[in-house]
Amino acid sequence: MAGHFDRPIEHLLRRAGFGASAAELDYYSQMSPTQAIDTLIDFDAVADDVDDKIFRSGYVGITARGPFVPAANITDARQRWLFRMVHTARPLQEKMTLFWHNHFATGYNKVAGALGAAEGARYMAAKASEDPARVRGQIEMLRDNALGNFRDILLNIAKDTAMLVWLDGRTNTRARPQENFAREVMELFTMGVGHYTETDVYAGARVFTGWNLARPGAAGDPAQHYEFVYNAAQHDTASKTFSFPVDAAGGNTIPARSAANGMQDGLDLINALAGNPNTARYLAMKLYRFFVSELRDPDPAFVDRIAAVYLQSRYDMKTVVREVLLSPQFWEPSSVFARYAWPAEFVVRALKEVGWVGFSVNDALTPMANMGQVLYEPPDVSGWDAGRSWFSTGAMLARMNFAAALAGNQKFNLARAAKTSAQSADAMLTYFLDVLQTAPLDVSVLKELGNYLNATGAWTGSDAQLQVKSAGLVHLIAGLPEYQFV
């Protein structure tokens, strides 16, 4: 394997963000790693104005079909999110939003199937500021709470309109409890499989009876909307017993309560789940695989430490994620390029490194579907199967083909940028391997890239050759297996 140089700041920005454009790299390079972590974590201090840049020149394009309405059209919502990933000045906020989207994986299609296409997009993606009834879609809620308190996130999710449709909570009634949400909240959102029983699932379903949806407002009024309601008449008032503690005293039973006070059952259970040590460990392991490494089992010392910080901080994700990014495990050399890039990460990093002026994120949507990731449409409530599962042959071909499409689109920009390195094929290769970050390349791979530059004729550095070879080389590099890691 050839030698390799990758600065710590680049590792940090690939994990805590979506990689870095040249400008971002220059900006963060002024800082020590600790300062950079502080800047990424304390993103409230940075203006949240990325949406204002949509349709401005100098930024990646968006393709609107008529008016651009991300609050009512899911394709527009997908484009807006990709735009944010490329251009946000708060990369960690966007990264954690993606983490939570995968964690509380809710699919647009079912919501749209139940409520209609525009309403589906609304409850997934509307910003309160753009909605006549100040409806805040699920992803906006997660974005607002990207480094918030986990218990708050969990409570918001339990009351989230899209979630109440997605896991059928809206039909959970006293006479016929609905197990779907109760099961997944324990299995996937908090403690993990093996830490609850079937009986707990049934009891959990009864706890959330009456957590339904209402639709206030007059028909036809744009302000009419679905929202959470606690429907006391549908609440099961009997006591519920679990196999794990559900109150501060360590008791396992939620007492019988009047219907009027019955919403407290759900609050008690959410409290208990947020504070359960198994939840702490489950989240710690998930954060390890997301931020640190997928190539080995989570380090027990890391899991112990992060789980403890989670509990001590009373579930404050800002404290937890700061600890993750400061951990020795995050910084050890074996963690660098130790995670398979998600399609969103691959696409956004390629845009940041290759260039975006003249490209529309709309043209990334179908390729991303072929790579196996459609934003707002995880395959099921367990989220995407990450890691090696991203790399079916068809999906790998889709990555290579996206690299080809982007390189072709950026042909002129690339040739212009490479002009100062046109003196030799060697200089060209050096230049592009500096711009595109890959895991270490074996010598034989470098040789093939070099061979390619000389394949159809001797190197002259003419403008025509520069255009062809810049695009071809970027295609080959971004399509390399070594480029599919962050």
Binding site: N172, A425, S444, F485
Partner: protein
Amino acid sequence: MRITRREFVKGGVAAFTVTFAAPELLSDLARAQGAHARNLVILYLSGGNDALSMLVPYNDPFYYSRRPTLAVPATTVLQVGADSSRVSLGLHPRLTGLKQIFDAGRLALIQRTGYDNQSRSHFEGTDIWSTADPRNPQGPGWVGRYLDSLASPVDPLAGWNTTSASPHVLQSNHVAVPAIASPAGYSFSSPNTGADASAERAAALRINSHVPVNRPEVAFVYESAQAAMATLDRVATVAAYTPSTGYPNTGLGQALRAVSGAMVKGIGTRIFYVTTGGFDTHSTQNVNAANGTYFTLMATINDALTAFYTDLRNQGLFDDTLLLSFSEFGRRISENGSQGTDHGAASVMMAMGGRVSGGLYGTAPVLNTDPGNPTLENSAGDVHYETDFRSVYARVIDSWLGADSSTLLNGDFRKASLTFV
């Protein structure tokens, strides 16, 4: 100021110029392996199929009392006779094509398949059905283990996954099954044209024949890229396939169209994976109305499988084909308050093919709510399994794939009464 990250390139490109031999073409090998192949198509019904709506015990009064809004009326089921416990059964009324295949003796329905302490989790349940290992459902899938057992080198197109995901059942230690959702979209793009595009493709082919040492995580991605490059040309022939009958424009219909094309074009593939979803019918399951959720699911299955059956028969390939379906669990017997059903236990499997001995295998559950009812579990809430699902796999492995099921399944799960193939 950007820092140059790769000083190692300074040695110069000229020093790297080496000629690489093109990788051996595998299509002849593929044909050799495929010539004696029997095709296996795995159909996964994602979400937990409600067996009781698909194969209805229409004379059981508890079926109607426990499903007041969700039962298929006895008058509309497609009667398929009685099983060995003398329970009369009928297919869902939308399964008219499957009924014909059943009547032709080429569809087997294996009732109450499952395992002990069945997981009601979608994910763990799918892992268990995929690995055939309830105790440790994390390793390679059972079909993946079969592919691993083939003599190497294994043709990169030995298997064809018609989804863009990597289903667990196909995961193996040594064989990357290509995911080809659409044969027409499975091609190599280039930003350039003509000789330059050819040079890129040649470079990609040589790069991806590289095997990184001591980096299994990178080597894995190389295997995928290499398999993609090695299969492009053969898949292109399938894109040109014109079937002998129309296929429905559903995901499953188009996937089975590609499967048929791969068989007809003789590209050497013997293992196929297809799937259709939407079976997690917690609410408004609606089994009877023409646009109802479950009714539509049945339409999807029926129309796609019927087209596949017709096409393969026309092409003379039905005798070479076995289709086997599974789902992660069946559903709760009593309907819930949302006119749906929650996660349950045992379900029904289907086997279809020209060498299938069709009919009803196993016995139906008796749905009375007596907690001691031996055909049920979970206080008579769910259907208890009668046939270990691994016994079904064992039959397929031994009698169809010609491999040894006790090796692949880590135990002898053979069951003499399962003579469906």
